[in-house]
Each structure stands twice: as structure tokens, then as C-alpha cells.
Symmetry: D2
């Protein structure tokens, strides 16, 4: 396996290059009997579409998804679900310039070093378009979670210097602003900041936070497949993520035990934690509180501002990256973070089904 | 697989509980012909041993490792290497108190929720003693890297409010201070801080940074098995880690593209990066610069200071955790971070061997 | 992973149902730099096409394969290769009858028991059309083997009572007869037998043998991933296979050690085995002799001859299966056996690259 | 992973060499709450012990197993179960002869080719002693099956020319005869045959059949992880197995569809198959009938009778293998076949728990 398969029980395999014929994903291990149609997927895919604000690339991508297998009479059959999105907007333009040098901050150089050559058209396999497969697969995972009463919600927490607090806003607003910040005031400030970046022919980074509500305690495997470890892999696998936090994250390292520990108290006969520094995970296993994680995105590397690099004739040259690039990828990455979190959770929910002998007995005695 | 296996090519499987008969690890996929003996492993295991300073638990653990298989006449044979450390210092004391309630910040509650009951003696499977297996396995991985000229070095970067800078110190000093900070002045400040924590019957957190030098470009698989994604899983799988950074990490999210991108320039005929904001990874693949990652550890959850929790009779009670606990785990976690990084790298180095047809041809033609 | 992924290093994931929109496969882990085009795949796919003789279903399937990703400028890029074949010949006919009862010898009943319902159109996921993905993936594997000088050749060894011997024929003839028997005389007898079966509205089974030539010694992992164990999984995963043999197979169990052991002798300075009862595998590892395996196929279960079964109203009913079915699947299965063998070998060839420290050193020192 | 891990959900990893310090196995993914003690394991381990008849090696091996982890207060905890058997009977004798040449029919040559050298003491990793780990792990799997009402029973079906029929005997007799044949008459004939072999300083092969009773329909994944495919891998992974059959096996290939298909009929409201040519598996999924598989073992390769081979100085030499070897391994392999079958089933039973949305809902709603 060379890296395009995620998960052990509910697996997705993404495939496709930015300027190839199509982009897609194959899901294996999806339980049978889930109602599923193209609209379920488009709801998520529409959220990552470009061309929705002046901070996203102005190109129009239809990005219509087609279900090729694994669904019969409106329900999943338990067999692989193959999803495809045809690349319609990728015009055959001249890539000879981009093919001739290594763009700073991109994977051009490392792909050449690894494979000996690269598909240089629009970033090839490293293009953000690869996330179409993740979002299509994540939409299915999210639908499974929904059936179990679990919700996964991501939003833009920071853009450049502008930051909002989780407690303060209405999640309904997330998709209503061009930045993905569910706080109109912060959204306005962030827009102003991004316009400055555009003027300077520069780009910006930001932070996406994701909150899982109503997840049972007990999800996650001890040691290497801890819920936080798998979330760590999931979020770092998104291009441009340079840091990941769980709960208090970095702040936890500077606090004291008495500040960082969450007490257990009773809510009726239910054991609950009044605080949640841990971000809903103890010992790698969900504890019933909200699961909270954060992904930090670097600024888009493609900038028009002059940079220094080396070309294939081994000459140092100045470059100005042209083309249709977002000055920030964070608003479009929100749904990707949400989907990677959903995929991680469903995979571990399935794994947890074998955790106890009484689960086996209850399931298989019912069958007998 | 329920979480105790790490890696796909060079795999380790750790086993054992804090107060069981023994702790161990089985390594599979280790190439044949590596010189290996117990001393190679003890060098690493001694670095995680308790009882070496007043900030580490005063109990003496012999922690002598034994190689049970996979090594013949001083060299690895290519078959599984089984390593065992007997638990000699774990006295049978009275665990009835710890069995009766959920310690805040620990995995007691989540293990009960997941499995229906738990081995409550000394933390059971969630004990820090589990890392013995990781360190023994990581010592083998580090030896392989050494043969290829690659070094992996971790050190304590922060304790509470005391922080040092990577550029400023001599790596030889890392093992010379009780805090693992290779800077005598910072070490002294950190010690003062920890003594305050001890007086307050409280605990502290901190940060471990790890630097990989001399690694080739090309290591890491695109998409889900990116080098950073696998490092993310590896580091978050260490109990108590609440955040992970690669390169500039969190700072990258607040910077602009023109600041965060690393230029490519020539050093003779070699392509190099004069800056390293990326932390040695582009598009999930090593770029030939130093690979830099950071793990943020929460404060030790076991504190004597009063906390609130719930017992098994569903009563809210105040608790004072007694016993032999480190007021900070960071100094002993340094070698664990180093080992998890080494394990991740060796696994991906093996995976990369199949990346090109000409690698296959050069290897198999030689055989013909 | 719910069963549609094969391999650990060179993985294929097949997807698609008989009467869905398309059938396909995603290959991950294919080394970069392999010349590949649609014609390479069609050579293999044409061999499993129906409609080529009166013993194969008369329906015409175009089965044109399209490469959707992973190939750039005629060479594999190291990223996933997505291959698709659109289902063009599957007419929307009336499936209400087949949906109403369980066909004997088919997977209808077990799919219903497993998933609660099934895609009943043309066998759904259990259709022989699933093997299109295997053959497309196997064609890529076979091309890799070819580059290393290894050939994989399967042929029809038996049909009903007619059997031929490996030593006696010209492999060039395999694709020249309707039965896949490279012996015109045996082919004629087998045809006569099949015509009898057709007259009796019955069906026949048979045996496919596969021979790998010029494979190095050393391929296969000890214990659970023995070359024979992986071939066993590969061949039994083909629907209708009820027995698998390696080398002398069943006969070995009745022979004595002195008969069954293969001596080692010298051919110049080369160690060789003058006999090959072992079928080229010792201790699960290739020994340099021809690798020989055999798959035994049951007769096609879809027969017009009357059978007894149960319908969904829980009534016992007699059935006569109508439709376009082969009276024998063996001739079309020959290429499937060849492809599964090639896939198994490439996967283990890649795994073996990490078997020795000197392999790592030779590869990575060259890079430095 | 280099081949010593079996399974995806309930995994075993065996380790150890014939003449190393110990042999062992680590089980991961065992559900919590299973009652387990050393006696449960010894029941199975005693059945593979040598020294029980004159057809088994006369050496005495204590083979006492110790549970090192994963069991607390008599029940499995859900964490890895580490089992160890110390090698006590392996005396340090002179291995210089065996080290100097390649034994025909053994893995000596292929290990050297693969790894560059080998642990030549008593077969090293390829020794039959490796199966201790499988049997210890399989005993745990069998105990899980027992709790679900499923039984797995293997017996010696053939030795040389002597064969018995499944229908004819009392399973209680299996462990009562030195040959493992539960038919006193056949057992006597087989003994006579083996004595002849001993006189001729030769060895014999045979067949083990395994029957699973009371397994639900629905177990096994379509396509590559079919129940028969996984059984194929499991049984071929046992050293010396050269053929595997499911149900009618080889005979199915020579029969006609009307003979080989099993009808479905009603037993009350239960759908059953009056015949079982399929061996309990349709489309790779259990159908509720007995699951029947067979493993064909080659004769023990270590014979005193003169054979030709090559030594490390590249000279052809005649050899007479001395030492404590069984003239047949089949009677001791019976429990190994049983254990590999049990391991395969438990793994697929766990995988099947995620097959349907209503399974997830029933399990997780109960938790809420």
C-alpha cells in the first residue's frame, strides 16, 4: 500500500490527478442498508467547490459526483462504493514553465526525488483536487454517524491574526460567510486581512477547529490506534497542515496538572466532566465529552510575489507563480477537516464492535 | 488489529501491563544482517528509566531487556525479534482504593466504558511502562538508520514556562541534565519551576523537539501516509501528547506565503533550502533538509493536590493521588519521541524501496 | 477492509457489480516509470471476454478499459492507477424471477444472510464480471514481472474427464483453442464432452494450471505470508475454485519422503533441483525452480436442468435457470488465474526488497 | 509486515526459533471478558506435543505455556495477550554438519537465498516448533467460538494409502489413537504402514480434514477475503501443506453442475441444504451447513535414507539426515489445522460485525 488508502474497517482509497480524466474514491467496508444517493454527497462536495468567493479560485468546476457501484435501490449493499468526479474544467494550457522549475512550498521537488519524474499539470496528485475523494467518502461516513446521533462540525477558527472562540457562535452561520467563520464581525476583519494579502500578491494561513458531539465513550484503541493518534494522521494527511491539537493542545504543555485535569462529577446517574481540557479523549479513548481537534494550515504556497528557486537546468531563477490560486485555502478546507474526522470516527466505531465478548454474544445470539 | 501494532513494513507490537509479569515487544520486518545485542537496546532503555533524578519516580526498575528470538550469532535473521523486560519492581500493594474510583486525567474511566472492566494495577496497559516496548523497538530502528547515516535526536525544549532554542546548544548535553534540556542555564530554571510544582503537590508539562539529520529526499508516501501524517500518528500515540507540530507548526498558520515558503538554491550542484520553515517535509515527502517535529505533553495527571471525581458506587468524592509518580514525564519521554520518530522513518524507508521500477531492476538484476 | 483489497505493497481494489454502471480497479503501490497504455491491458482483458466460442456466453461485451489516473506521458507515476470498464451490454431486463428465489450453487442466499438484501441483477458483486478488475490489475503486475524477466503462464489442464500433461505442449497454443487446452487432440475431446453437457442442459468443471518461469529464489515470507499461502488465498478468492495444489499437491500426501524430496545438484556453479515435486517453493519461499500451482473449478452453477430451491415466500420450488451462461467457466478463467498469480508475485517481490540490510544500503547509498 | 502476523481483527503474531530461548505468540484484538487461563491453552498444546507415540519424535518437551499479559482476574482485558513457551529441551549439540549443506525438502536453501544466512539449529524459524504459537493463539480463538456455540474439529483422514470417511466415526476417538484417526481399524492399518516407512528409513504424508459445526450463515467477505480464500491462506501457511480442498474439492472439477449444486429445501421455516458438496461456503460466505476443509501434508523431509545435495563448498554430496524426527507429522498437525481454522473464523466473525447498519444501531443504541 503506497499511501492512498485510509482506514482499516471503513476504508477509502482516493485516486486521480488535478488534470487527469477524473478524480475518485472507492469506499470498502461500508455497512449495508444505509440510504445513499448523489445528493447526500453533493451537499458536502459543494462546500469545497471553488469559485464561491473572491478568496477562492475563480474557476468554475462542476464537480458532479456519480455513484458507480455499491448502492442498489437507494441503499448501500455492503460492497465497494465507487464514486467518480470527471475533470471538466481543466483546460489543456501550457505547462512548460511550471514543468521547468520547482515551486517553493510545493511537492514538485520531492515528487521528482521520490519517483524520478512528476505529473506537473496543476500539481498532479498533490493538488487540492485530491480532497474531492476524501469529501465524497467523508460524506458517507458522516451519514453513518448521523444515523447513530453523532454530529461532526468544523469551522474556520483563525485567519491570519483574526481568531474566534468556540463558545460564542451559531454553527448555522459556518456556511454563510466566505471565510467559514461563523461570526460576522470576525469574518469581516478576516476579509479585510485577506484583501491586504491579495494586494501584496501574497497569501494567508489559518486554523480549522472540529467538534464532535454526542459520541459515546469507548471509541479508540489503546496504544498506537488511539483516537487522537488516528485523528493526528487524518489531519496531518491534509496537504498544508503543519500542526494539530487535541483539546487544550499546546496550552496543556504550559499548564499544571491541577489546571489541566478534568474532574468527574455526576449528572443524575451519568458520569460527566464539567470541564473539557482533554478535548473528549482520555488514554486515546473517547470519554463522552465533545471531541475537539484543530488543524493549522500554512499559507497557500502559490504566490505571485517574487521567490527564488532552481530550474531543471540547475540554474537559480526568480519566479512569479501565475494561475488561478486561492489566497487562502482554509475556507475550502473546513469540510475536508470535517470529513477526515468523520472517516476516523466511523473506522474506530467499527473496530470497537469487537471490543467485548458480550457484544459478540448479543449480535450472534440474535442471529441464531 | 486492536491497536498495539505500529508500522506496515517494520512493525512493532508492544504488549504488557504495568504490574503484569513482563512488558515486551515483537518486531517483524527487520532486515537480516543487522548487528544487534542487548547493549544496543539498553543504551536507549536506560534513558527512559525512572529513578535518575528527584523529578522522576524514585522507584528502581532494573528493566533489563532480553532478546528471545530473531538474532543469531550477533546478527538479525530477518524473522521476528522478541524482546522482553520482566516486571521486577512492581510490588503487590493494595490497589483497592485506585480500583474504586476514576482518576481525573487518566484512562480509568474510558477503559471501563470500552471493555467493561480494567486492570487497575498501576495504570495497567495505559501505564508509561508500555513505552518500554516502543523504546526497545525504536533502538533497533535507530540502529538501522545509523547504518544509513541518518541520526534522530530529541531533547526537552520546554518545561512549564522555560523554553530553549534549537540552534543554540550542544546535543551532547541532552543526556547530561535531569530535565533533558541541553542548556545548563535553562535546565536550572526548569528545575526551580519543577521544585515549585512539587511543593504545591502539583505537576508540570512540557515540549519535546526531535530533529532528523541527513535523511534523503523522497521518504514518505503521498496522500494518507505522508511522512508528517505518520509522524502525527506516532507522536499522538504517546500518552499525554496533546499537540504535534512539523517545522514552524502553529506559527505557519499566522504567517504569509512569502514568509513561510522556503526558497530553493544551489549548493554546488546540490539543490538545498537555505531556510526550513517546512521542517524538512514538502507534500508529505522528506525534502533533504532536517526533519523537525515537536510533541506537547500535558502535565502528569497523578497529583496529590485535591481533585474531584466519582467512585464506583456513583458518589462524588475528593481524591489525593498517592504513589510514586513523576511530577513531569517530559525528561523520560524524550527517548520515546526519538524512538517513535525512528520507527516511523524506517517503516517509510522500507516502503519507499518499491517506489521506482529502476530500484526493482537494480536489486533483482543484481540477483540474477 | 471488507474484502475487496488484495495485496500489501502492490494492492488492487476491485469494485463494481455485473449490472451496475461500470466495473473497475484501483492499483496502489505500482512503481513509477513502468511504460503502460490501454493496449497492455486489453491484451489480457480480451482473453477473458465472453462470446468467443459456443462454450462461452454469446453476449458481446465491448469491455474497453480506460486509464483514468496514475499514468503520465505513457509511464506510471507511482500514484494510484484507476482503471474503468463501462457496462454497456447489460440490458435492463426483468429480474423479478431471479430476485424471488435462491439459485443453488450461487451466492444469493449467503448475500441475503450477510447483508439483509442483495443486488440480484446478474449476480451483482458475485458475478464473474468482477474479475475484469483483477485481470486489468494483473496485466500491470505481469508487465512488471516481464521487465524482470519473469513469465507467468496459465492454461486449461482438465475439462471434465479430459486431462493433459504439462510437459507435452507448446504454450503458444493456449490461446488458439476454444478450451484453452494447448493440445489440439485433448481440445477436441473436451469440446465433445462440453457438447454433451450442453445437450443435457448441464455444465462442467475443470482445472487450470499456472507455471511461473525464471523467478529468483528468495520470494515469499516465512510463516503466514508464505508464497504458497498467498497463492492459496489468491486462487481460492476466484469464485468457483474448490481446491488448490502446489507442485505435486495431493499426490505428495500419498508419497514417501524419498520420492517427494527434490535433490539439490550443481549446474556449473549454480545450485539446481533436477526434479520439482515441491512446485518451486520450499518453506514458503521460491527456490528458483518453476513455480507450479493448480486451481480446481466447480461446474458453472447456472444450469437449465431442473433443480430444487426455496423462494422468498418460503416455498420449495423447482427451477430452470435461464439466461446467457457459459456451460464451463474454465477457458475464461485461465487468464484470471494467471493474473492472480502475477499479482501475488509482484506483491511479494516488493516485500522482499526489505529483507536484507545490504539491499537497503545498496539502494540508499546510491542515492546519497 | 514480514509474514509473522495472521488476521486483521483477531491477530496473532508468532515468534521464536526451534533452538532459541523461547517460542511465543502475541494476540491482539481479543474481545474483553473471555475467561482464560493456562489450562485452556495446555489442552491444545498437549495435543501437538512430541513424544506421545513411536511415530512422533521421542524427545520430551515440557512446553508449558505462560500468560504474560492481557488477562486480569481470570478474564481477557481486550489488550494484547502475550504467551510464552520456554525452549527447555533443545540441547546445544553440534550443528556443524547441518550448517554445512542444504537438506532436501527443507527451507535451508531458500532461507540462505532470501536472507544471506540462516539460523541452522533445528530448522530455526521454519521448525515445526513455530506452530506452538499458532496452537496457543488458536486455543483462544476456539474458546471464543465455543462461547458462540461453534465447534471446530480436525482429524487425520489419510496416512499414506489408508483413508477414512467423515460420516463413519466418533469424534471422541480422535485423540485416542496414535495416528489421530478416529477409527481403530484404519488406525491399525496406518500404524502398519508407518512401521514399514520406519524400516525403510523413509517417511510418510497424509491428510487432515477439519469440520466446523453450527456456524451461522454470513461469515466471510466477498471477493478477496472469502472464507475459503482465508482458509486457503491459513492452511497453506502450515509448513508441508501442498494442497487444500473445500467441500468436494478436487472432485468438484470433474463433476457436472447438476451433481455438484446443493439444493435448498425447508426444515420447518429454516432454509437448509440436504447435500453439502460446497463444504458450507457459497460465494465465499458461510451458508449455515458444516464448513469442511482438507489439508494435504507432504512426507516429513528429514529422512535417514540417502539423498543427494550440495554443501556450502559447492560440492555434491550424499546425506543421511540424523536426529529426532517424526516419520510423519500429520498426527501432530491435526490440532494445528484445527487452530488455523478457528483463527480464520474468529477473524471473519469480528469483521462481519460491521456488515449491516442495523448491527451498528443495535449495538450503539444499547450503549446510549
Amino acid at each position: 500500500m503506497a499511501g492512498s488508502i485510509f482506514g482499516k474497517h471503513f476504508t477509502i482509497q482516493t485516486w486521480g490527478e488535478s488534470h487527469g480524466k477524473a478524480i475518485g474514491v472507492v469506499i470498502d467496508g461500508c455497512p449495508a442498508g444505509l440510504a445513499l444517493c448523489e445528493e447526500d454527497l453533493m451537499k458536502y462536495l459543494n462546500r469545497r467547490k471553488p469559485g464561491q468567493s473572491r478568496f477562492a479560485t475563480p474557476r468554475k468546476e462542476a464537480d458532479e459526483v456519480e455513484i458507480l457501484s455499491g448502492v442498489f435501490e437507494g441503499r448501500t449493499t455492503g460492497t465497494p462504493i465507487s464514486l467518480i468526479v470527471h475533470n471538466t474544467s481543466q483546460k489543456s494550457r501550457d505547462y512548460s514553465e511550471i514543468a521547468s522549475y520547482y515551486r517553493p512550498g510545493h511537492a514538485d521537488y520531492t515528487f521528482d526525488e521520490k519517483y524520478g519524474f512528476r505529473d506537473y499539470r496543476g500539481g498532479g496528485r498533490s493538488s487540492g483536487r485530491e480532497t474531492i475523494g476524501r469529501v465524497a467518502g467523508g460524506a458517507v461516513a458522516a451519514k453513518i454517524l448521523q444515523e447513530l446521533g453523532i454530529t461532526v462540525t468544523a469551522y474556520t477558527k483563525s485567519i491570519g491574526p483574526v481568531t474566534i472562540e468556540y463558545s460564542r457562535f451559531d454553527p448555522e452561520l459556518i456556511t454563510s460567510t466566505p471565510t467559514g467563520m461563523p461570526d460576522p464581525e470576525a469574518d469581516k476583519k478576516a476579509q479585510t486581512y485577506l484583501e491586504e494579502c491579495l494586494k501584496e500578491t501574497d497569501s494567508a494561513g489559518g486554523v480549522v477547529e472540529c467538534v464532535v458531539k454526542n459520541c459515546f465513550a469507548g471509541i479508540g484503541e489503546p496504544v498506537f490506534d488511539k483516537l487522537d493518534a488516528r485523528l493526528g494522521q487524518a489531519l496531518f494527511s491534509i496537504g498544508a497542515v503543519k500542526a494539530v491539537e487535541i483539546g487544550d493542545g499546546i496550552k496543556a504543555a504550559a499548564s499544571k496538572g491541577s489546571e489541566n485535569n478534568d474532574a468527574f462529577v455526576l449528572d443524575g446517574r451519568q458520569i460527566v466532566k464539567p470541564s473539557n481540557h482533554a478535548g473528549g479523549i482520555l488514554g486515546g479513548i473517547s470519554d463522552g465529552s465533545d471531541i475537539i481537534c484543530r488543524a493549522y494550515f500554512k499559507p497557500t504556497p502559490s504566490i505571485y510575489k517574487e521567490q527564488l528557486t532552481v530550474n531543471k537546468d540547475l540554474q537559480e531563477i526568480p519566479v512569479h507563480i501565475k494561475g488561478r490560486h486561492d489566497p487562502i485555502i482554509v475556507p475550502r478546507a473546513v469540510v475536508v477537516v470535517e470529513c477526515m474526522t468523520a472517516l476516523t470516527l466511523v473506522d474506530l466505531l467499527l473496530e470497537n464492535m469487537g471490543a467485548r465478548m458480550d457484544y459478540l454474544k448479543s449480535l450472534y445470539n440474535r442471529k441464531q
